[in-house]
Structures are given as C-alpha cells and as structure tokens.
C-alpha cells in the first residue's frame, strides 16, 4: 500500500468501531484515483479490513457504483424506471445511445464515455433525469442532452466518481 493510501485507510478506520466498515469508503477513495476498483485496491482493501482478497472482491462486486473495469472519463447514467419512463426516458435513452454511439453498459473506444441505463435516481418529479459523474441533471430533453454533451466534451474531469 502506498503511504497515501495507508494514511487514508487509517483515517477511515478511525471513524468506525470495526475496520471492515472502512472497506467500501476505502475502495471509493481508490476508485476516485484509479478510475475503477483495481486488483491492487482490492488487495490493499483486504489487508486493511483483515479479510481475504476474494472476500473483498465479492463485497465490491455487490455494489453498482464500484466499477470492476475501467470506465470512461464521463459516466452518463440515465434513469430507466417507471416515473422517468412515463415522462420521456425512452426517447432520451434512444437519443443518448445514438449520440454517444454506445449501447447500455458500453464504454467508448477512446475511453471518453461510459453509458448506462440505471434504476430510479429519486428525482421523479423532474423526469427524465440523469447523472453525469454523479452530478444530477433534471428534466432532460434530447435538446438539453445535446447541450450537456457539449459542455462535458469540453471538460476533462479530475475524477469520474468522486469518493466524497
């Protein structure tokens, strides 16, 4: 483990009565640096929590916001559940897939974009909604999506999935 990660691990462990509670926050921290949960992060996390890497991998695999493989710099997640569907999510998704040239779950070859259709984001009154690197956008029309896409493409985010 790098000294930086060890320091972070210790800081996280101190928040909880038991060290394993720090595992997910630690993996979130590593993901924010590496872009996804690497094998090194798994083994560091396992060491920190006092569990086997296999167990840490199994735990990480449970959570949809911990990525097992590299994702794009821009992760675009559009809600696909009922309330958004009632207010135009199907059209938005079709438009987004076409504009990005990606199907659900795919990452572009240049590593710029990952596109996902996700479950209810708890913003149903401003549907359809999406998240871009966990930042909410509400009432997104296809035209609004195009506008967002321009601002994203012009921006190189420091981290795809911020830890905190």
């Amino acid at each position: 483990m790098t000294p930086e990660r060890r320091a972070r691990a210790e800081e996280l462990i101190a928040r909880y009565p038991q060290a394993q509670s720090a595992l997910i926050p630690f993996l979130q921290f590593c993901q924010a640096q590496d872009g996804y949960v690497t094998e090194q992060a798994i083994s560091d996390g396992a060491e920190m929590a006092g569990i086997t890497p296999a167990k840490a991998r199994s735990i990480a695999s449970f959570y949809s916001l911990l990525f097992k493989e590299p994702v794009g710099k821009h992760v675009v997640q559009i809600c696909r559940t009922l309330s958004c569907m009632l207010r135009g999510a199907d059209e938005l998704q079709a438009h987004a897939r076409k504009r990005l040239g990606l199907r659900n779950g795919e990452t572009s070859a240049d590593g710029a974009f990952t596109y996902e259709e996700v479950e209810c984001l708890a913003a149903c009154d401003r549907a359809p909604c999406l998240q871009h690197n966990l930042e909410f956008h509400y009432d997104v029309t296809p035209a609004e999506f195009d506008r967002l896409l321009e601002t994203w493409a012009a921006r190189d985010p420091a981290t795809t999935m911020p830890a905190e």
Binding site: L65, L86, A122, Q131, L134, E135, P162
Partner: protein, 430 residues
C-alpha cells in the same frame, strides 16, 4: 387543505435552510434545546410514543415502540439514519437531505438522546453525492456551533454522527442489509429474529429510522405529542410528505395531513392530470405497491386505509399513470427493477424475479405467449411471502394488480404481437 400548516417542508424552496443562521432564525435547534435542557431521555421517548408517529420509510411501524424494544443491558446502542432512498417514485428524503439538513441533524441528536445511543450512523445513498456534501457541510457547521459533537449546547451530552456513503444497491435500504453494508459487507438482509433492537450494528442494540421519521421528531418535541396526534387519523397521524410523479401537471413533493383523499392530492396539490387525459392507474406507495384505480380516488392516504385496499402507503411514492400508459411496459420497468436489485440470497426472489422480468419483457416485445400469461397469473403465491426480506414480495403486487384489472391489455400484446397502444399511437401519427 387551507388549515393545514406544513412543518417538515416549511421554508423549503423559499429560504436557504442549508445556512445554519437561517435555520436558527426560523426556530431551528429550539427543539434540541428543550429536549436536552428540560426533558429526560425517557420523557422525549414518551412524547414520541404518545404522538403515534409511525415510521416513514415504508413499513409504518410505530417509532416509539421501535425505540422501546432496546434492551437495558449496558451494551452500547447505535442509531442509524436511513437515507438510502431508492424506492421507485420516492424522492422526499433526497429533498430533505439537500434542502434541510439541519432538521435531520437536530432530529438525530434528539432521537439519539432519547434512546441513549452512543453513536449515530448516517447512511446516505451513493448516488446522492450532492446531498452527502451538503450534509457534511451542515454537520461541520452544527459541530462548530455546539449542536453536535462534544458537549452539545454545553450539556454533558456528546454525540458523533458518522457519515457513510452507500455504493449503489437498493437493497441496502432494508434495515438489516443496511447494517451489513455499514459493517463493510455485501448488503444482504439478515434473517429476523434477532431484530436490530437486540442484535443490530456490530451485534449491538440498534434503531434504524428513516430520514422523514427523524424530521418529525423536533416538531413533536416543540409542539407536543397532542399536536402531532391531532393531525389526520388517530392510528397513523401527522404530516406526511408524498412524492407525486408521472402524468400530473405539477409533479413534486407535497406535505399533506395524513388521511387526505387521493383525489385531493392529485387535483388540489399536483394540479390534476395532463390536459385531455384520463386516469388509468396509480401506484400509491412506491414501486413495491399494488395499483389503485379511478374508483379508488376517495381512498384516504394513510397506512391503514391503503392497506384496506390491499395496497400500501409504503414510502409515499405516488406514481400517476394516465390512459396513454401501457400497463405491460409499466410493469416491465418495475419487475426489471426488482430483478436488478435482488441480492440473490432467496431463490424465489432471485430466480422468480428473473423469469417474471423475462416473461414481461417478451410480452412487451411482442414475443409473449398465452403460457406466459398463465404463469404470470399464477406465480404470485410462489414468489410473494417466500423470501426473507420484503424485496421479493415487491416483485408481483403491481403486476398482479394491473393483470387483474386490464387482462385484455396483456392478452392483446400476445394476440397482436406487440403493444396495442403503440399501434394506435403510430396509426394516429401516420
């Protein structure tokens, strides 16, 4: 409607309640002051019991009773606040987190005082990164000014709130899955008993309360249990935030007195249906609830009245569907949701959810068969009530209710090899 005064959402959208000075100017922390300086923990818990407050997370269990189950055996006790809101159609906790974080902090400290908790854990859904940051800033301010942390308000009470971010899993909103998740494990629900009151977080006595429930506590302490109990039905009183979405003119969160008729919520609060449309179905309690229909519009919105209609108030996610909605497509989004979110421990939920989602998707794609319909009509008893947590029991209620009500719509998907509503729409637009 005119006489009801909102308390949980007061000021939201008008003033900046994320500013601690603004919160204080509106009477913020007066309740904490009263509880800590003038009341014993038992008196606070007694007041909450007497208010008949029922949990706002979905199950509607009496909060005072939940608190009273904690054993007096000297072990440390924990309070966990459930802000993992992910029930389809529900967005009230998301709003409270971002718009009024000090109400949550005040409610948490009072509740922790009442149950003599040693520590508070605030579990925030991973997707709510903005909310997490807003809450963290609020907690820093509250700690700096002595409303949380060491020696609160100069009293002997010290109380830390540990913030824990989720990482994407609906099931972690189930209380025992949440405990597993905080312990750094897969969010797999535990078999109950033992209940969290006896063996909760790290095996210790634990109470898990929803954000909105916690936000009800300060006004109960300030205004008294009798005030709270006087709003709405005797057995499930109080103000309640209903999240209204779907085909209404003004979707949004509406704080209403418990027990108003569904019609009033749709017409008076949410502005009615979109122009020229007719009501087809409503999910009154989030994605897990069975639908109600036009003839049920006089049903009162509270735990008991909706249970009498064989559905539930649940988390208060009120999804309105008009006559342009295909019930097969609507069902598909929900069964697919539960299929995706199943933790996989129980066979009926893991396998049943998958098969049901496949069958409904086939119907929607125009590839369904009469045998799919027969299975969907009879599979309810095989899936519902056979799992260790409520997720598996949430797969079928909506689907079964609309299958019963609109059998011809499902049959038409088989007969016409696709959606009849879409065919009409395509015909209309040429």
């Amino acid at each position: 409607m005119a006489t009801f005064e909102p308390v949980l959402t007061r000021g939201i959208g008008e003033i900046d309640l994320t500013d601690i000075e603004v919160y204080k100017q509106t009477g913020g922390f007066a309740s904490l002051d009263k509880a800590l300086r003038q009341m014993t923990p038992e008196a606070v818990a007694g007041e909450v019991s007497a208010s008949n407050l029922r949990g706002r997370g979905g199950a509607g269990f009496p909060t005072g009773k939940k608190w009273s189950f904690l054993p007096n055996d000297g072990r440390p006790r924990y309070l966990v606040c459930n802000c993992d809101e992910a029930e389809p159609g529900t967005f009230k906790d998301h709003m409270l987190l971002e718009a009024t974080p000090f109400s949550i902090i005040e409610g948490l400290i009072i509740s922790a005082y009442a149950i003599r908790a040693q520590k508070i854990f605030m579990y925030i859904r991973g997707e709510f990164l903005d909310g997490y940051r807003i809450f963290r800033r609020a907690l820093e301010q509250a700690t700096l000014q002595g409303y949380a942390g060491r020696r609160i308000l100069g009293t002997d009470l010290s109380m830390d709130i540990v913030m824990h971010r989720g990482a994407g899993a609906y099931i972690c909103g189930e209380e025992t899955a949440m405990l597993e998740s905080i312990e750094g494990k897969r969010g797999e629900p535990r078999l109950k008993p033992p209940f969290p009151a006896n063996a909760g977080l790290y095996g210790m006595p634990t109470v898990v309360n929803n954000v909105e429930t916690i936000c009800c506590v300060p006004p109960i302490i300030t205004r008294g249990a009798a005030w709270f109990a006087s709003i709405g039905p005797e057995k499930c009183p109080g103000p309640k935030i209903i999240s209204v979405s779907g085909h209404v003119r003004k979707p949004g969160n509406y704080e209403v007195p418990m027990g108003i008729p569904a019609r009033e919520l749709i017409d008076d609060y949410a502005g009615g249906l979109l122009p020229g449309r007719r009501l087809k179905a409503i999910q009154p309690g989030g994605g897990s609830s069975a639908a109600i229909f036009e003839e049920d519009l006089d049903t009162r919105i509270d735990f008991d009245s909706l249970a009498a209609k064989k559905t539930m108030l649940g988390s208060g996610g009120f999804v309105v569907m008009d006559d342009t909605t295909c019930m097969v497509r609507a069902s598909q989004t929900l069964v697919r949701f539960f299929e995706h979110e199943s933790c996989g421990q129980c066979t009926p939920c893991r396998e049943g959810g998958q098969w049901v989602a496949r069958m409904v998707s086939r119907l929607e794609a125009g590839e369904g068969s009469a045998s799919d319909l027969r299975v969907l009509n009879t599979i309810n008893n095989t899936i519902t009530g056979t799992n260790l947590c409520p997720l598996g029991d949430s797969i079928m209620p909506f689907l079964s209710s609309v299958l019963r009500r609109f059998p011809e719509e499902f049959e038409a998907h088989v007969r016409m090899a696709g959606c009849p509503l879409r065919a009409v729409a395509l015909g209309a637009t040429g």
